[in-house]
Amino acid sequence: MPEENSLVARSKKGDLQAFEQLIKSLQARLYRVAFLLSGNREEAEDLLQDTFLNLYQSLPRFQGRSMVYTYAYRILINLHRRRVRKRKRVTEPLLEDIVASTPSGTEIFAKQEQNERLRVAISKLPPLLQEVIVLRYLEELSYQEIATRLGINEGTVKSRLHNAKRGLRKILTKKNL
């Protein structure tokens, strides 16, 4: 943590080497989240790149109230939401198109289809609920660890997870995904 603080301070002053070290420590975790939300490597790479560029720009506004990872994670989520919204405005949702056109004859395709549907549903959850899903299932943190990370109590973590799952079920049944 003290090392992270010094890297942030140096990055704020424009030290690119410090920023490189900082994003090196974040990239693997953020890339997995990007992949989980976008569903393909190219888009995940694009999303991660934009996240880092945005992070560098907004770092002077970062006041150190949370970890840099949490700050970068929120940038990534917002960018992803903006992209999905933009894509919806231009055409129909790409993922849903792909899902709809995927042949479901074999078990493999059916499984892939199911995964894509779930991925779309996760990316439609509100950010707060998405966050607990990522922390619990992707980062495999315990309720206690999630609570510490987010600065909330364990009960809130459990209720957010419950709401997230309820939200997912609602999206999956409503959209017949």
Partner: protein, 144 residues
């Protein structure tokens, strides 16, 4: 109900397992740093030239609007004040972070005791609004 919940959870675990198996492409970091370097070079040029060019442009424009008074000394004082307000205005407008730094030093004790009241973004806006105020003072000095 339980079966449905389990299937859903199983699906989420499966998705996350897939995401965890993904390796980060090695070219992301160099491309981000390259982009930042190019952007920084461009920004640095704009950052250095922006205030100077605006100061010159505003000075030329305002000198054209300048109404001279009968006394020479009064005119000199007015021109000095005009340049001072334009210089302050352009610095406030283009480099508010410098003024924020000075402001924080002045308010150091207070900040230590109570912490900042405004976010850095709000501070920037405040100084940019003050920039307009200084440029308007310059205009008033011209037309007195």
């Amino acid at each position: 109900m339980t079966e449905k919940r389990d299937a859903l959870e199983e699906g989420i675990w499966e998705l996350c397992r897939q995401a965890k198996e993904i390796e980060v492409p090695p070219d992301i970091l160099p491309s981000v740093l390259k982009l930042l370097q190019t952007r920084r070079c461009r920004l640095a040029l704009g950052y250095r030239l922006g205030p100077i060019l605006s100061f010159i442009a505003l000075s030329l424009l305002f000198l054209r609007l300048f109404t001279f008074s009968p006394g020479v000394i009064l005119n000199l004082v007015r021109i000095f004040l005009l340049f001072l307000s334009l210089a302050t205005g352009t610095v406030f407008l283009f480099q508010p972070e410098k003024m924020i730094e000075i402001d924080r030093k002045i308010l150091g004790d207070y900040l230590l005791k109570f912490g900042p009241k405004a976010t850095p973004f709000q501070e920037e806006i405040l100084f940019r609004v003050q920039a307009i105020y200084f440029i308007l003072i310059g205009f008033i000095i011209c037309r007195i």
